[in-house]
Amino acid sequence: MANPFSVQTSIEEGISLITLEGFVDAYTAPEFETAMQAQVDAGHHRIIVNCDQLHYISSAGLGVFMSFVEEVRERGGDIKICGLIPKVRHTFEILGFQEIFDLVENEAQARQRFQAA
């Protein structure tokens, strides 16, 4: 029943990894935003958001992705989103986010995309 929220950040080979767990809604999205802001403020513009433990997202969470992607791209980075479970992926797709964001299978694939870029 409990699906508590957590967000964790780590950095490896110049790529930031933000791991979301539980649900991101209007209650928890501010914490996600803070984590994202911290990376951008620190000049880290290559960001992977791992969602394989994310069970739910509402527009408050989608908005966090939306508000940062332009800035990191301008600075030569990107936000790669990996590990979406089908239910969460569906929410991204209703809004056409698959046209704007690089949605990939897993973390390894996300790293490859950065290497390839």
């Binding site: 029943m1 209650y27 935003e33 739910y56 408050a60 508000s67 332009e70 239910k87 209703i94 809004l95």
Partner: protein
């Protein structure tokens, strides 16, 4: 049993902390109405968005206010109303911008009403600012859709 509509009401303080409780409520009702998994998720998300809007916009984060969620289920549909007594707004005045332009403008909002409309079969507002504002959402059951 057959012809009786089932009515459920939930009243909670206007705080985003209660969205999880609201989603549970909606999910359980949707399960009882035998919606499939995707439909249950859709209903859950639409009601979350509607309530988050009330909490943020209608009541401006004043947690002393109350959000009311009403669900009526019969053989044809699940009808959900989200009711507030907050400031109201003109829903016809909200024209959704394209996602591209939201991204360019680095906006984090503007997705909620769009989602609600995409997820539900029917959506309508009844606004009486400061009195009673209602958002009515209908999800028809498939055999009747």
């Amino acid at each position: 049993m057959a012809a009786i509509a089932k009515k459920f009401t939930l009243e909670v303080p206007s705080s985003t902390e209660n969205l999880v409780l609201i989603r549970d409520f909606v999910t359980r009702i949707a399960q009882q109405a035998h919606l499939d998994e995707q439909e249950i998720s859709n209903l859950e998300l639409a009601v979350d968005e509607a309530c988050a809007n009330v909490i943020e916009h209608a009541y401006g984060q004043d947690t002393r206010q109350e959000v009311i969620i009403q669900a009526i289920c019969d053989e044809e549909a699940v009808r959900i109303s989200v009711i507030d007594t907050g400031k109201g707004f003109d829903p016809t005045g909200v024209t959704p911008a394209s996602i591209d332009s939201l991204v360019t403008e680095r906006r984090s909002g503007g997705l909620g009403i769009r989602l609600i409309k995409a997820l539900m079969d029917e959506v309508s507002y009844q606004i009486q600012p400061g009195q009673k504002n209602e958002l009515h959402m209908i999800k028809r059951l498939r055999k009747h859709a």
